[in-house]
């Protein structure tokens, strides 16, 4: 009649309906013994399933949440401190920390509010005795509250999931043509167009830091700098190998070719994230050899940077100021080194946890775009999207699907771990 119901109160209700009034205290179940119940059964199955959503947060969880709430209140108090108000950096960092817990605290407060109300309603139900009207009122109130608590708990679980520390960072994106010669270059250019549209539609800022154009169009490689809100959290799902199947513009006989382009997404980083030893770098400029200083007035400001341990080579030519080119080259180097670390760490994590999906390493084939069938297939999701949707840069839904999958999987893993 009302679908699945979970947990203590459900079983209590079911039993009460058939057996009679019983005190709630005899039904103090812990998380592990809760399972989704069919309202038609009157026995409690103590089996565990992979999609448990207990209605009662266990004591441990409640304690954790109370702790978070206490810290939140402390931070809130500090915002009223005149010393804090005087120091804008400190003020901002406190506000940022506080806002991270705000969602959790709001949900938790609501949950606890409902919990009290539920206790009240349960009492009413018991006291109602044989009055069917009173019993019905109390019961419907209890049901309502339980549903609300279940929803809040689901929210809380997601909010409490370990977050990717890089999620709120800006990124550098490198699109590199793979196999397929000119067509791969053109495809890299097509991806750039899509991403630019997407970035603009979100009100983010993009600038090209480096590019190497293809002879027949497109790019051999292009590096973008993207700034906005929670950029990495969305763009990380674009990292990997993208494959295109279509008749190239340069093709004279109408044959379909398959080409690839690789997208690398590098969260922005600073010296705290990645240390680069100046000894490991050779930076050469146009002036490194020969006369310089006041004797000449040349405007060639190109900078060539080589990171010896990894062999990463970066050339930066685009700014009028040589120092700006140097800074950009260093920024790119640090981003690349950091990304290598991030990808490695994630791969290790995934292996440890046996997780299925994750943000693609550079060699993971993530999507195929087929022109003939007008489809964009995401291999991680096992889902197809209309090609037109991708080309018009409506890629939000694809990323949403990836985020949902990721959350599902994290929830599953988290629950499994707690079952142990």
């Amino acid at each position: 009649m009302m679908g699945k119901m979970y947990g203590v109160a459900a079983s209590a209700l079911a039993l009460l309906a058939t057996i009679g009034p019983l005190s709630v205290e005899s039904f103090a179940f812990t998380r592990n013994s809760i399972s989704p119940l069919d309202t038609t059964t009157t026995s409690n199955r103590l089996s565990t399933t992979t999609s448990t959503l207990s209605m009662v947060l266990d004591e441990q969880m409640e304690n954790r949440l109370s702790g978070i709430r206490r810290s939140f209140m402390t931070l809130t108090e500090r915002l009223g401190d005149p010393d804090v108000l005087a120091d804008s950096n400190l003020l901002m960092s406190i506000m940022k920390d506080r806002s991270k817990s705000e969602g959790i605290v709001t949900n938790f407060d609501e949950y606890m509010g409902h919990k009290e109300e539920l206790e009240g309603a349960t009492e009413l139900f018991q006291e109602a005795g044989d009055d069917p009207e009173m019993r019905e009122m109390a019961r419907s109130e209890m049901k309502e509250l339980e549903q609300k608590m279940a929803d809040l708990e689901a929210n809380l679980k997601v909010l409490m999931l370990p977050k990717d520390p890089n999620d709120d960072r800006n990124v550098m994106i490198e699109i590199r043509a793979g196999t397929g010669g000119s067509e791969a270059n053109i495809f890299a250019g097509d991806l750039l167009d899509v991403y630019r549209k997407y970035i603009t539609s979100l009100g983010w800022k993009v600038s090209i830091i480096d590019s190497s154009a293809g002879d027949d169009g497109g790019f051999k490689n292009v590096v973008l700098d993207v700034k906005g809100d929670m950029v990495y959290s969305r763009f990380k799902w674009e990292a990997g190998v993208h494959r295109v199947q279509r008749v190239p513009a340069t093709e004279t006989q109408g044959r379909v070719h398959t080409s690839t382009a690789t997208v690398a997404v590098m969260p922005e980083c600073d010296e705290l994230d990645i240390k680069v030893d100046p000894q490991d770098i050779t930076m050469s400029t146009m002036r490194s050899g020969g006369a310089g200083g006041q004797n000449v007035n040349k405007v060639e400001t190109a900078v060539d940077l080589l990171h010896k341990p990894t062999g990463i080579r970066i050339k930066c030519t685009q700014e009028r100021s040589q120092l700006k080119n140097k800074d950009l080259a260093m920024k790119m180097l640090m981003a690349k080194l950091y990304e290598i670390e991030v990808v490695q760490r994630e791969a290790d994590e995934r292996e440890k946890r046996g997780a299925q999906i994750g943000t693609g390493g550079r060699s993971e084939k993530i999507r195929t775009y087929n022109w003939k069938d007008s489809r964009c297939s995401d291999h991680r999701l096992g889902q197809n999207f209309p090609l037109a949707q991708f080309l018009s840069a409506d890629i939000g839904p694809i990323q949403d699907a990836m985020i949902a999958r990721d959350q599902e999987e994290s929830l599953r893993l988290m629950t499994e771990e707690q079952m142990k």
């Binding site: 120091d87 002879d215 169009g217 200083g293 006041q294 120092l323």
Partner: protein, 310 residues
């Protein structure tokens, strides 16, 4: 852009014949200026286009076959001619350039065009000052008075002023044009600040040798109540990119430098080693960095000099 890249290619060919240095770059900078592309990197977009005529345009949604207007074409032609015929420096043709943390600094003949090496000099000074000031943590920053000797367009002093918002900068130069130009640039760079009665940047028309409170005749410090104006020193650091080229090397400078930039900003004086100006600066250092007027030339603690000398 087909027409524009063709026109720049044509200009390139002409330039190569005459032997213009950095012909392609020159054409790109001049064309970017005429088309009013973003100053910092507009030229590199054109350079890409020149090398890869069929590439997609990375950022500017200008149509691929945009044509120059008649005015633009004329302007471009004029600039290219000036560049090709007399090797007029690009910075003078475009009338502005970038330096360190400054964008679109005004430049005009004959004031020396800032060099990349000077950016490095400023960076060293910035790192040093950051270390020094870092010791004070988040408390009130101590006062910081800096002297830019031979300030020219003002780039050294102004990039430091921008980097250290509480610093006071004085720039001195023997060229009146330099004093004017650096003052204009100061207004551009610092005009967003709430200026109190005394501006943070001040340019004075006085050569290093005369920037002193020591009476030239009596060789004694002017008394504090002297009728003549006395300078206020007390600088924590003195920074300079002084002229240092030996006179014998002057004639071998490349024509764009020799025929357009101020020789006084290049040649270090009559002595063979080209270090006359440097010597003048060093001689005045104790007076400039003393915290109180001193009759004798004791160097006080807190003086520092970074000079761009090769």
């Amino acid at each position: 852009y087909t027409s524009t890249s063709t026109s720049s290619a044509n200009t390139d060919q002409t330039k190569d014949v005459v032997g213009v240095p950095e012909a392609e770059l020159s054409a790109c900078h001049l064309l970017a200026h005429v088309l009013q592309l973003p100053p910092s990197n507009g030229f590199s977009l054109l350079l890409e286009l020149l090398h890869h005529p069929s590439s997609s345009h990375p950022l500017h949604d200008l149509p691929a076959d945009a044509r120059l207007t008649a005015d633009q074409a004329r302007h471009f032609q004029e600039l290219c001619t000036r560049r090709a015929s007399t090797l007029e420096p690009l910075q003078y043709l475009v009338q502005s350039w970038d330096f360190y943390n400054l964008e679109n600094i005004k430049l005009r003949a004959p004031i020396l065009c800032p060099r990349p090496e000077t950016e490095e000099l400023v960076d060293w000074v910035v790192q040093d000052l950051r270390r020094e000031l870092g010791r004070y943590g988040g408390e009130e920053q101590p006062p910081l008075r800096l002297l830019d000797v031979g300030c020219g367009s003002g780039v050294i002093g102004l990039s430091l002023a921008k980097e250290f918002p509480h610093a006071e900068i004085v720039g001195i130069d023997s060229s009146e044009i330099a004093v004017e130009l650096s003052t204009e640039n100061a207004q551009l760079v610092l005009n967003t600040e709430h200026e109190s009665a005394t501006p943070r940047y001040q340019a004075l028309h006085v050569p290093a040798s005369h920037y002193t409170n020591v009476d030239a005749n009596t060789h004694v410090q002017l008394p504090t109540d002297a009728p003549q104006e006395r300078y206020r020193f007390g600088f924590h650091h003195v920074i300079a990119n002084p002229p240092y080229i030996p006179p014998s090397d002057m004639k071998s400078l490349s024509p764009d430098v020799l025929h357009h930039e101020d020789h006084n900003a290049l040649c270090g004086g009559v002595s063979a080693d080209g270090l006359d100006i440097v010597r003048e600066i060093v001689a005045r250092l104790p007076e400039w960095t003393a915290s109180e007027p001193q009759a004798d030339a004791d160097a006080d603690t807190g003086d520092g000099i970074a000079a761009d000398i090769y």
